[in-house]
């Protein structure tokens, strides 16, 4: 009987790892997958094909710490007329008619955000290309996080650009 002891041991060992991989899969779905949004907005169409500037919709990126998400009104300034027959635009119009804001899901998140001060305005003023952190959104149908937004990543760029690397620059 001792001879066959290896089989249950092997089953337990490999079974554990199958479960561990599946656990990683579920973690990915909960934490790392690009979130679904109330409408399938495509940056590929708006930036890549139409050629809108980032600041056209994210109006406060050069004025505030937050880049700002466009209001439904902003969307409707074009979509009252453009592509009104598409289902996603009809969803948008429904928000407009009901006069309710659209609840977008957050894509970019600094993990320990309560301890980090980050300002879009500073970075836009310093002529940092939006794509340096957000990637080439003009090729993204569904927006996803490209950079890790981890401290080491921030600091490396700060060093390269000779930006301040004092702790208090970000942790205040």
């Amino acid at each position: 009987m001792k001879k066959y002891l290896g089989i249950p041991v092997g089953l337990a060992f490999f079974g554990f790892f199958v479960l561990a991989y599946l656990a990683l899969a579920s973690d990915w779905h909960r934490h790392k997958r690009a979130p679904d949004q109330p409408i399938d907005f495509s940056h590929k169409i708006h930036v890549g094909m139409v050629g809108l500037e980032c600041l056209f919709c994210h109006e406060t990126a050069d004025k505030s710490t937050f880049a700002g998400i466009p209001t439904v009104e902003k969307c409707m300034s074009c979509h009252k007329n453009v592509a009104t027959n598409r289902p996603e635009i009809q969803k948008l119009a429904a928000y407009w008619n009901a006069q309710t804001p659209m609840e977008w899901n957050r894509v970019h998140r600094i993990r320990v955000r309560n301890h980090v001060y980050f300002s879009h305005k500073r970075h836009v003023k310093a002529n940092i290309d939006c794509a340096a952190c957000h990637g080439e959104v003009e090729y993204m149908d569904k927006i996803r996080q490209i950079s890790s937004l981890e401290m080491g990543w921030c600091v490396q760029c700060h060093r390269q650009k000779e930006a301040p690397t004092d702790c208090l620059t970000c942790h205040r």
Binding site: K3, F14, A25, G51, E136, W153, Q156
Partner: protein, 475 residues
């Protein structure tokens, strides 16, 4: 990288799809083979050392058998070990063309080292044929060959693993720092565990079930190889999922997808079946099922390689989209050039122009009213008599007034664009005639299509537009 950027056209989607399959094929030949050579050379090395200590000729016989199995002939080494190297380099170069992937120069270094390691091990194999098999020179050759091969495969796999992390293409430049991240190290250990297990599988297959080979083995040889094979296979199989787990865990977010973990879980499942076979070899009286065991290990490698493909595709998604767009734009340009060559023959049709205007342009433009774009009544007059200017603007719109969102290129065939331009100019010209009291008359289309005759040339027009923009911005 420069070499590729200079000589290669942007690949199309179909081309990239084909490259993916070629990449899987190239790796499927190279990685299991290099794995088997590493595992066999490692065992062979220790057996030679053992023979020196114990003077047991059995060890050196098995040491030779093992390296013979891994490197049966020069042709085999060339086909399985060396030819896939440039193929893989070229495919990665194509895949990452125009990108700033910063380990592209390390990849050929790794490839050269792998090839050099294989050549040195081949010399070791030949030196075993002669006398004095256990001399320091022979053992040294094996050790050096193995070391070069390990270093080469580390650099090769490390630089490929770096392609999965675009974030560090910008931030990290030093070769040592590039190759010493945890992700690269786990990836390499993951491969080494796979190498050990597939070597074990190969020993079970080639020593015991390969036709004609089993008979040559003496009883003690068979015993030793059986335990070596099954032992190294089980050691590799135990380490494989552990290192694989850490590798997946340390991958950057951009490289991840749900499928990847499923492939990983499937790989561990297949490994368990292989484990049952190997375990049977270990405890059973007779070695059986060598072929399916080996095939299962190759399948595990295949899954590992497919996983790498998924990772590469995820990590370079935007880069690939950019390449495909570039190829499409190139194609569209060629199309435009062709149309331009026939341009003189294309006659605008005002009725058709009206249809196109109503179905496409009217979404954003009215004559007297601001919708998304400016009212045409205010912008058209500057094109009066300059149909070519209007046609080229519609083909490739540029932003004139910052108060409006940019106009996208409509992507219409030239005949439609010309027709709509003719229709629009016809809309404004009759008005001016009306003002003079004359009957509305269409513009002279023949004249308008002839280059340079009517109004300012295209270049002048662009200048005019620029001034226009500058003025507005100044305001």
């Amino acid at each position: 990288m420069e070499i590729f950027n200079q000589y290669v056209l942007p690949p199309t989607r179909e081309h990239l799809e084909l490259l993916r399959y070629l990449m899987v094929l190239g790796y499927l030949v190279l990685l299991p083979y290099v794995g088997i050579v590493i595992g066999s050379a490692l065992l062979s090395f220790f057996l030679c050392v053992g023979e020196r200590d114990t003077s047991n000729p059995l060890y050196s016989r098995v040491a030779k058998e093992l390296i013979d199995m891994a490197m049966p002939s020069r042709v085999a080494v060339l086909v399985f070990g060396i030819l896939p190297l440039p193929v893989i380099w070229i495919i990665h170069g194509q895949w990452l063309i125009h990108s700033i992937a910063n380990t592209m120069h390390l990849l050929p270094l790794g490839a050269v080292l792998v090839a050099a390691g294989l050549v040195v091990l081949m010399a070791y194999r030949h030196s075993l044929d002669g006398e004095g098999q256990n001399s320091i020179t022979v053992i040294g050759t094996c050790g050096i060959g193995l070391a070069i091969l390990l270093l080469g495969s580390f650099v090769l796999l490390g630089s490929v693993t770096r392609f999965f992390d675009p974030e560090r293409w910008i931030t990290t430049h030093h070769a040592v720092r590039l190759l010493t991240s945890w992700n690269v190290i786990w990836r390499y250990l993951y491969f080494l565990a796979g190498a050990l297990s597939i070597t074990g599988g190969a020993i079970i297959f080639f020593f015991f079930t390969w036709p004609g080979r089993a008979k040559r083995l003496s009883e003690e040889e068979a015993r030793l190889t059986k335990y070596l094979g099954a032992g190294i296979a089980i050691a590799g199989m135990v380490l494989f999922p552990v290192f694989g787990f850490f590798y997946l865990f340390t991958l950057p977010i951009v490289a991840l997808s749900g499928q990847l973990y499923w492939v990983g879980a499937l790989g561990v499942g297949v490994l368990f079946i292989a484990f049952l076979y190997v375990y049977r070899v270990l405890v059973g009286p007779k070695v059986r099922f060598g072929a399916p065991t080996f095939v299962l290990f190759v399948f595990v490698f295949l899954l590992m390689i497919v996983g790498d493909q998924l990772v590469l595709v995820n990590a370079t998604e935007e880069h690939i989209a950019a390449l495909v767009t570039e190829a499409e734009e190139r194609e569209a340009e060629i199309q435009l050039e062709r149309e331009a060559m026939r341009s003189a023959a294309i006659k605008p049709d005002i009725v058709r122009g009206q249809e196109v205007f109503n179905s496409v342009c009217s979404t954003c433009h009215r004559m007297e009213e601001r919708l998304v774009g400016p009212p045409l009544g205010s912008v058209l007059p500057k094109y009066a008599g300059n149909m070519d200017g209007l046609v080229s603007f519609i083909q490739k719109p540029s932003k004139v007034n910052p108060d409006y969102p940019p106009m996208p290129a409509p992507g219409l065939p030239l005949v439609d664009i010309k027709s709509v331009a003719a229709y629009l100019l016809n809309q404004i010209t009759p008005d001016s005639k009306n003002a003079q009291g004359g009957a509305p008359e269409p513009v002279d289309l023949e004249r308008a299509t002839d280059e340079g005759e009517a109004g300012p040339t295209q270049g002048e027009l662009v200048e005019e537009e620029r001034e226009d923009t500058d003025q507005r911005e100044g305001e």
